[in-house]
């Protein structure tokens, strides 16, 4: 059996959805054995069938799963892709990462809305269509992009494509009949190193792991000093050891494929090009920790990958690489199922992800206890990122020392970067740890670069003075995003886009993140409107400091990172927006008189306040 890239069918996706469309809610719920932990999956499938989730449907689901309606309502209103109010038959969501912005997504959305006669964020009166923005869909190297009906993507949008989309929607042409090449998703692998360039026959790493034995395998992982690639950077061997040693009736192996950090798309490419490598990593991990069940948490934005990935799982079962007695090894039983998310960045945090797997709101848990001891259904659970699992597969085959010899002593191996923004060759770049920003900028064809956002909005914003720094846990850790901004870009608008992202994606659980992210947006909007003062900039710094020290989870703690970095490094971008460095107008006094002018039918100069403060 050879490792094969998955083939995403351009057509037939919606025919699958059509099958679901025929399924009554009763059989959908019973297909999930009335399991309350399947709530998110049931709601997702119910919505695919019914477009939105009416209250009586929530009530039915609640009663059959033994949950309260309020609980189900809480879950249904938590995830951005669930609708508890009517939405259009065609739901069009424009990805709104800063890279999409730079490629003109806002004008394209306005154009589409104008052509269709619909207001952004609202359903057209005839129920045909809704158009809105959504958080980054992980297609920054081929944007602007959009997501239709939470299922199919359209990449490389331009005015002509938008005009044709409007026509197809008006003509009520099913999405499955739209031009197939619109949904083409390119891999754009520009630089491959050991992970992406080493051929790997499926099963080889499992055989090697079985030969080493579970303990030997964990030893190799420890020797490799592989650290998680999802952002937290915990030592994978240590995590597996803790999980293996934790007491529980079951152990679970979870793959975190909830790649929500704006600007990151490496996991999408790994799942497309190397699905066997990912599943093999999970299988090896299962051997190490003693798990019989594995779960992939696939972000809702990658819904189009579900069927192809399930096909790969089936192929692996047929080849005895999953199921009972894997590779004929009695007692080594393991299988994988895929859980699809429904639009919630916070679920990338491992304890939120587990809450979501259990069918709840994706709110981070109080930690400790950590998932390795108390995870899915309260049992020991190892949660590893897609790229981490791919690395584990190679390490099982080639040994820990091999991996440890690559990179730097403290940051071993290679790291895969999702490069986007102002460069000639956006796409996937794999480098040994310790590679400098300069080198990466040169390779991707970046010119006149002003700044690079490493690790996404929750990472670091670097100015040109810092391009000698190196990607590593000791210098510049990253979760994979690498967004390039040339000197024509306004770094205030970059930070403002990220602020909007965090406000939209805050789970709302803790005070500083729930209110703080919304206050940051208000303050930045005020600055953008030219009504800000130095006081507002200082207030933003104060909120940043507060959020760093007081939030419930790490995501809230990093929500102001880009704000902090841009205020420190690109302060002129803020100050040129200040109406005055001292005056603090919270609102436009003259604009407030508009009603009075309208009532008196006046608009002469005397009916206006002096505009200069």
């Amino acid at each position: 059996m050879e490792e094969r890239r998955i083939v995403v069918p351009a057509h037939g996706l919606l025919s699958q959805a059509a099958c679901i469309a025929d399924e009554p809610i009763e059989s959908l719920v019973s297909r999930y054995a009335c399991d309350p932990h399947a709530l998110v999956q049931i709601l997702r499938e119910a919505q695919a069938r019914h477009t939105w989730l009416p209250r009586d449907m929530l009530s039915y689901v609640a009663s059959t799963l033994g949950l309260t309606l309020a609980h189900v309502e809480g879950v249904a209103t938590f995830y951005r892709f669930f609708h508890t109010q009517p939405v259009g038959e065609y739901r069009v969501l424009f990805s709104d990462n800063i890279t999409d912005r730079m490629q003109g997504n806002a004008a394209l959305l306005a154009d589409l809305c104008q052509r269709l006669g619909v207001e952004p964020g609202q359903m057209r009166a005839d129920g045909r269509v809704s158009v809105d923005f959504c958080s980054c869909t992980g297609l920054c190297d081929q944007g602007p992009s959009l997501l239709i009906n939470h299922h199919q993507v359209v990449t490389r949008l331009d005015a002509e494509r938008v005009a044709r989309i409007a026509f197809l929607i008006e003509a009520r042409v099913p999405v499955s009949d739209w031009p197939a090449h619109w949904s083409r998703v390119d891999d754009h692998i520009r630089r491959a190193d050991v992970l992406l360039d080493t051929p790997l026959p499926p099963g080889a790493a499992i055989a090697a792991a079985l030969a080493r034995g579970a303990c030997g395998l964990v030893d190799e992982m420890t020797t490799s000093n592989l650290r998680g690639r999802g952002g937290a950077g915990f030592v994978t061997g240590k995590k597996w050891e803790l999980c293996r040693d934790a007491k529980g009736s079951e152990h679970y192996m979870v793959c975190n494929a909830d790649e929500g950090e704006p600007g990151t798309f490496k996991d999408r490419v790994l799942l497309t090009c190397h699905p066997d490598m990912v599943f093999e990593g999970m299988t090896i991990g299962a051997l190490a920790i003693g798990a019989r069940r594995g779960l992939v948490y696939l972000r809702g934005e990658y819904r189009y990958l579900l069927e192809p990935l399930r096909d790969v799982l089936q192929r692996r079962r047929d080849a005895h690489l999953l199921g009972t007695a894997i590779q004929g090894h009695t007692g080594f039983d393991f299988d994988i199922e895929i859980h699809v998310g429904a639009g919630a960045y916070v679920c990338g945090e491992e304890s939120s992800l587990i809450e979501s797997l259990e069918g709840k709101r994706g709110t981070p848990r109080i930690r400790p206890p950590f998932p390795a001891e108390h995870g899915y259904l309260g049992q020991p659970t190892a949660v590893d990122n897609v790229e981490t699992l791919c690395a584990a597969t190679h390490i099982a085959l080639q040994g820990g020392a091999w991996w440890a010899a690559i990179g730097t002593p403290r940051s071993t191996g290679t790291n895969i970067h999702s490069v986007s923004g102002d460069c000639d060759r956006p796409g996937i770049y794999e480098y040994p740890m310790g590679t400098s920003i300069d080198r990466m900028l040169e390779d991707c064809g970046a010119h006149d670069t002003q700044a690079v956002q490493v690790g996404g909005p929750s990472g670091k914003c670097l100015s040109a003075m810092e391009f000698g720094r190196r990607i590593s846990f000791e210098d510049l850790p990253t979760a994979g995003a690498f967004m390039v901004f040339d000197r024509s870009r306004d770094m205030f608008e970059v930070a403002r886009n990220y602020a909007g992202f965090f406000a939209e994606e805050s789970c709302g659980f803790c005070t500083p993140c729930r209110v703080g992210t919304a206050l940051v947006v208000k303050s930045m909007d005020k600055l953008a409107a030219g009504r800000g003062s130095r006081h507002d900039v200082d207030l933003l710094s104060g909120i940043d400091t507060l959020m760093h020290g007081t939030t419930h989870c790490g995501l809230g703690g990093s929500a102001c990172n880009a704000l902090h970095d841009t205020i420190v490094k690109f302060r002129p971008a803020y100050e040129r927006r200040l109406k005055s460095l001292h005056f603090e107008p919270a609102f436009d006094l003259d604009a407030e008189l508009a009603d009075a002018r309208r009532a008196t039918g006046r608009d002469d100069a005397a009916a206006h306040l002096e505009s200069t403060p």
């Binding site: 209250r55 009530s59 309260t68 309606l69 309020a70 609980h71 309502e73 809480g74 209103t77 938590f78 995830y79 951005r80 919630a344 709101r361 109080i366 406000a503 939209e504 994606e505 805050s506 789970c507 709302g508 659980f509 803790c510 005070t511 500083p512 729930r514 209110v515 703080g516 992210t517 919304a518 206050l519 208000k522 207030l539 104060g542 909120i543 507060l546 020290g549 007081t550 939030t551 419930h552 919270a586």
Partner: protein, 243 residues
């Protein structure tokens, strides 16, 4: 630095702002401090319920790291900072955030004087709200015969959610939405309290630390001046919670 200390009858201790606090195994910093009569400001924590850790007002610093005292396990010899200018300034800003997030008009609120949010704000010397108010539109629910819900004042402490589940066994409340749109919901088809089995005698009807859930027809039964936080403060050992 306080080193690991064994005291005669109470066992091991940790240091809270320089004074030893004894604790039992498994206790959190806040539980132990509360039992010792010490004050760590808190809103969403209540001794009768499991910790939630969402208001963040009980933020403390241990070994240079910040965490919520209601969720951090006490550990022998640990040095915990709580009553510092820096942490109190952070608490004040968290309170200011809660004040601007909802619609809190103390002079016209029945809970004024009995309100933990107000009393904690006094403790933290809050004199203004710092931020621009959100002034959200939140209709009240006066459908129930005996209990009123004014969502304008809800601070999402979830004490009513926990009380209704743990004590009353009714699950009348849940949390819905996300981000700044997070809100309390009522478990009935209409979403109204009248269509639940909520009763005035429920723990959930009296647990609210602010004026979001109030008994009807009791307005100003206790005159201003004689209310909980008139003679006492939120820092006093007996009045650290509103109920």
């Amino acid at each position: 630095m306080t080193t690991l200390t064994k005291t005669g009858n109470t066992g091991v201790t940790f240091s809270l702002d320089g004074e030893d606090v004894p604790f039992k195994p498994g206790e959190t910093i806040l539980q132990a401090a509360r039992r010792a009569g010490r004050y760590i400001p808190h809103l969403c924590w209540h001794p009768d319920f499991h910790a939630q850790g969402s208001c963040r007002v009980c933020i403390v610093r241990v070994k240079g790291r910040a965490g919520s005292a209601c969720t951090l396990q006490a550990a022998a010899g640990e040095v915990v900072e709580s009553n510092t200018d820096e942490l109190n300034a952070e608490r004040k800003m968290l309170l200011q955030m809660l004040f601007v997030e909802g619609n809190h008009f103390c002079p016209s609120c029945e809970k004024s004087g009995n309100c933990l949010l107000q009393a904690t704000a006094y403790e933290m010397k809050m004199e203004d709200v710092l931020f621009e108010e959100f002034y959200p539109l939140r209709p009240i629910d006066a459908s129930h015969a005996d209990v009123l819900i004014d969502f304008n004042r809800c601070i999402l402490c979830e004490l009513c959610v926990r009380a209704s589940h743990d004590v009353d066994g009714k699950d009348v409340f849940a949390i819905a939405g996300h981000g700044i749109g997070t809100h309390l919901v009522v478990n009935s088809m209409s979403g109204k309290l009248v269509d639940t089995d909520m009763a005035l005698t429920d723990r959930a009807a009296s647990i609210c630390p602010v004026g979001a859930i109030l008994p009807k027809r009791r307005g100003f039964v206790i005159p201003i001046g004689e209310r909980r936080y008139d003679p006492h403060t939120a820092a006093d050992p007996g009045t650290q919670e509103a109920s």
